[in-house]
């Protein structure tokens, strides 16, 4: 469990994190924000590399700054691309394990398990200097998982991974989350995050804009009605029926000849009405989508505000 209470962090006159209060539960939580939003600073505060200027950070009830006990609960996969380049992947992960207090033998065995887990077993004996970005990400993940921590923080972990690598990486994350761990993944690529989790923290210019489930957050943004696009056999008749049956803010035909765009603040009622269009009125609905229900749209609205 991670708790942040009124946490602010200044870098001289520049504020990195501004009065953030939140509790991070078990499962995967995404930390979202543009570059410079304060994601990495927040991660550094949680991993005890930085002290908050004001407020307090607790990891399982412990102050993480320079605290070896707190570090036993934390696994951190940083966004940096630097390594001791002369080491092989296996040597690096074993070394990280040794520095966590594991014996040489246990560290070697655990390294082999992790190399299998992150898909690096066949390549881990080559020097790190020859690794691709994706291979480096896997090695960092392996070193973060070494001591089986309760809390795992991953700073931009999908950078440089190929599509298959991303899929594998997400599978590993889901397996870890199912085991009851708290996993925090920072990213500025919304599409990736959407595939990982629906629970998130949205940061912008150091502030926490919103936290919680993406649908819940979206529903709370009343100033922006949901935009729903419907493709059907008779859009004009469908528009007339929907206008009567559902609470609608606006309705327009187009942009295609068989398309209809509806704006509503009560999308669930609209979806029920669309179902009745097909069942009771015989209108064939070919496609139904809500483009602004995506994380990207939610993020856009929040930042715009």
């Amino acid at each position: 469990m991670i708790e942040l209470k009124s946490v602010s962090r200044w870098y001289g006159p520049v504020i990195g994190v501004n009065d953030v209060t939140c509790t991070l539960p078990s499962g995967v939580t995404a930390l979202l924000g543009q570059n410079g939003a304060g994601k990495s600073t927040l991660m550094r505060l949680i991993t005890g590399q930085l002290r908050p200027t004001t407020g307090e950070v607790k990891v399982n009830g412990l102050d993480p700054f320079g605290n070896p006990t707190a570090m036993k609960h934390l696994g951190f996969c940083p966004d940096i691309d630097s390594f001791p380049e002369h080491l092989t992947g296996r040597q690096f992960v074993t070394r990280m394990g040794r520095l966590m207090g594991f014996s040489t033998g246990t560290a070697a065995t655990r390294t082999q398990e992790l190399m299998d887990q992150v898909g690096m077993a066949d390549r881990c004996d080559k020097p790190l200097r020859g690794y691709s970005k994706g291979m480096r990400q896997r090695i960092k993940l392996a070193s973060a998982l070494f001591h089986e921590p309760d809390v795992i923080l991953l700073d931009e972990p999908l950078n440089g991974l190929d599509p298959l690598g991303r899929r594998e990486f997400m599978d590993v994350l889901h397996r870890l989350a199912e085991g009851g761990r708290t996993i925090i993944v920072s990213s500025h690529i919304l599409f990736e995050v959407e595939q990982m989790t629906s629970s998130m923290l949205l940061m912008h210019r150091g502030r926490l804009l919103a936290s919680g489930n993406i649908r819940t957050i979206r529903d709370l943004i009343d100033s922006h009605p949901h935009r729903i696009s419907i493709s059907c056999s008779d859009p004009r008749r469908a528009a007339a029926i929907l206008a009567q049956e559902a609470p609608i803010d606006s309705l327009s035909i187009g942009p295609g000849p068989d398309e209809l765009e509806v704006r509503t603040r009560m999308p669930d009622k609209l979806y029920d009405a669309v179902a009745r269009l097909s069942l009771d009125e015989g209108i064939s609905v070919d496609r139904l989508e809500s483009p602004d229900n995506s994380l990207e749209a939610v993020f856009g609205y929040l930042v715009e505000n």
Partner: protein, 254 residues
């Protein structure tokens, strides 16, 4: 303290890529020692060795101390790999202590190799039984410890610690010894004192580099006390500072 901290850093500092330049330096010192000896055919061999030791040998140990000390923390910060160290379940003081000690052992090893090869070039096989040479090995160890702790300490409190350390090592340490009243504030004064080299060793400009322009007798017991005291104070101070302050790459802070 976890022995892995010491051993992993020792592996890094003594890996061939790092060690080869110092082996070349030791061979170079050996060559210079031969030239030095040939330039002073009338001088007693022990006097030639004493001059060489004070003017060059001690300084190569200091240079090694500067280079290896930067690898303890400063280089990790610069390369951003400090993150991996700080997120391990080791107390920060233990990280600093283990890595500093590994660095000191490496510098002492380099220093002793330089002392023995140079002494061999000047004194032949007698070098390995000469008390002055053996004592210089002890001086190399003490220099590694005191200068190593000093430069690690500097790297914890200032940016561009390498430049400051080099300025201190080759500027301050050369001048302070020769300035009246300033000898006590030079580490080299105390190292020269615990060395067994007797009498005046150099003439002309070399007198300046050997720090003999101002003659002042420092008691040997005082020299040992100051060196050990400095080592302890700097090491403990460094551990306290590293435990209390943040060491995170600043430039990519978001």
């Amino acid at each position: 303290m976890n022995s892995a901290i010491f051993l992993t850093h020792l592996q890094d500092t003594l890996r061939p890529g790092r060690l080869i330049p110092w082996i070349i330096a030791a061979l170079g010192m050996c060559g210079i020692a031969l030239v030095w000896k040939s330039l002073q055919p009338d001088e007693a061999l022990l006097t030639v060795y004493a001059q060489f030791s004070q003017i060059l040998l001690y300084r190569i140990v200091i240079l090694a101390a500067v280079v290896f000390s930067m690898g303890v923390i400063a280089q990790e910060i610069e390369q951003k790999t400090i993150v991996y160290l700080l997120t391990r379940s080791q107390p920060r003081w233990a990280l600093l202590l283990g890595r500093s000690f590994a660095s000191i052992v490496s510098v002492a090893a380099v220093g002793m190799i330089c002392v023995l090869t140079s002494a061999f070039a000047i004194l032949g096989f007698k070098a390995f039984t000469t008390p002055e040479v053996l004592m210089d090995c002890v001086v190399a160890f003490m220099a590694a410890g005191v200068y190593g702790s000093l430069f690690v300490f500097l790297s914890l409190i200032v940016n561009r610690a390498m430049i400051w350390s080099l300025l201190f090592a080759f500027g301050w340490e050369t001048f302070a010894q020769n300035l009246p009243g300033m000898r006590p504030v030079s580490v080299m004064t105390y190292l020269n004192t615990i060395g067994l080299h007797e009498a005046k060793r150099a003439n002309g400009l070399l007198t300046f580099f050997s720090g003999d322009m101002v003659v002042a007798d420092t008691p040997v017991w005082l020299a040992w006390t100051v060196l050990i005291g400095l080592w302890v104070i700097l090491a403990v101070g460094g551990m306290m500072i590293f435990s209390l302050f943040e060491y995170s790459p600043r430039e990519d802070a978001e």
